[in-house]
């Protein structure tokens, strides 16, 4: 997208925010191991694996769509 304008692709921004969110949620998941939230199925540690999933998707997007210098 936006070849004419050389705009950073929207996928990069998505990757960045998912990466940040993934780290925050994973951290709460780790904290939840010792202080489990009073939610149903909290024994499955959803924050841990959902945080890891967000980090995974975010990292892939950031890597694939990171800003590069336009080819001459």
């Amino acid at each position: 997208m936006s070849e004419d304008h050389h705009i950073v692709p929207v996928w990069f921004f998505i990757g960045v925010i998912l990466l940040i969110y993934g780290v925050i949620i994973l951290a709460t998941g780790v904290y939840g191991l010792s202080h489990p939230p009073s939610t149903v199925l909290s024994n499955l540690q959803p924050a841990l694996w959902w945080g890891a999933l967000l980090i995974g998707i975010g990292a892939i997007y950031v890597h694939l769509f990171r800003p590069r210098k336009p080819r001459p």
Partner: protein, 579 residues
Amino acid sequence: MNPHSLCATDPLAVLFAAETGVERLITLHAPDLAIIVIYFAMVLGIGFYLKRYTRKGEDFFLAGREMTAWVAGLSFVSANLGALELMGWAAATYQYGILATHWYWIGAIPAMLFLGIVMMPFYYISKTHSVPGFLKLRYGESARGLAAVMFTFMTLCMAGIDMYAMALVMKVVLGWNIHFSIWVSSLTVAVYVALGGLFSAIFNEVLQFFLIWLGALLIPVLGLIETGGWDGLVARIHQNFPQGDYTHLWRAMGSFTDNPMGIHWTGIVLGLGWVISFGYWTTDFLVIQRVIAAKDIRAAKLAPIIGSYFKMAVPFIVILPGLLGLAVLPFKLVPESAVGPGQHSYNEVLPLMLARYCGPGLLGLGITALIAGFMSGMAGNVSAFATVWTYDLYRSFFKKAAADSHYVKMGRWCIIVGVLISIGTAYLVMQFKSIMDYVQALFSFFVAPLFGTVLLGMLWKRITPAAGFWGLLAGTVSSITMWGLVRADHSWLAVIALSSNAKDMAENMYRALWSWTICVVVTLVVSAFTRPKPVEELTGLVYGCTELPSEGHLPLWKRPIFWAAISAAIFLILQWIFW
């Protein structure tokens, strides 16, 4: 605005009734607040970043016409995926069961595919900047003026209503001050859209699409684990509610009295699936603008087709939480009017499910999904308003030959003013809630006839400019008249909606069908007595007068029709599975 709002299950009505006497459902923690703050920072940052790329009118109003099919397609769906979708339709599902899915499947998919395959080439080849702009090219200034005035008025009113409903959600769910929610959310939208125009709106809509999905997806995933899959879910619903059929789409549609919506299958198929759905998805500029911004005609055709796959999947994050509420909540939700101390209403089903499964962090992500849903809808409204006002009203009737930069400046001001007017509408609705019903009804008056006008104009060169205008006017006026007749004398309901048992939703469906029919008949009759445009003036606008680019050189899997066929097949299979 979307076709979902045209029904009287009316998530809005349910939400509006929730204003008083409800304690907050959810308490946020530091990670949740951090997630919300980061979201606001990100959308504003994108607006500031994109400002430098939106100096020309085509950049600001049409995103440079550079969007890929994926970006345009996701933005197309996201602009429609408001917070009310998530909250309201989960609530409607708790009340009516899986019937609510009709608004996502038959009420969307056929129309989206029709848009991509049949109508999009004409919107794109004509190089129009808007739907009223297309009417100008096809029929002339009078039809354009009528459509533009109606659209701008309705768009701002709907934006205000959505804004108020969202603030109400924040108050009910989180206990936030209603004024704080209105001003912070809407001014954020105003800033990022005014800075980056449609570029910024589309970028953020795609971002919001991801957040909505990733924020809401955990509920159905964990819910299905808890119930032991779909079969377990159905078994629990039957156990909790043995009288009703909450899990079949069509079985109870044989009569008005067999289903809780009070609607017959003809109303769903012809009213919702044909007129209202096609009217919204193929002529509402709020969504069409996203597709017009595509980089080429193939991308423009593919965008709504890609969108159709995601639209088909939305029930997973909207309908399923409502069904899960029926299955797993240890208490029964009640209508808003019957809520007593310690009870919860239908419209709280999604926040209740969110609180059931999501702890700190995940909760913030879920709330961000709701906020993102609101903002994407709001940005869609104001960016479409700015384009129609600037190009179809201001440039056409007030200042015809100004510099391009002047129109961009006007567009930026339009965003600010549009948001402020919407805020005013929100406060007006807060004082006089019946306005909401009138505005929603007004929008429904206009959608069905507009579809008749655009469709006939695209498909038949014999339709004349005078017929376009008079057909649109006749359809709209007849729709308003039918609505007024039923309010004045309820016995008219049996005439218009074919049954005195018809509920408001069924009435909307049949009224739309009649008004579309009247529009088409008047258009055909007036065309028979007036002079059509010369064929050479219809090139690029009408089927048979336009050479459509061939896709014969493309491999099958790159052709839009191939993906449309697969989407249609999945749609049919889903009807069969959940029949």
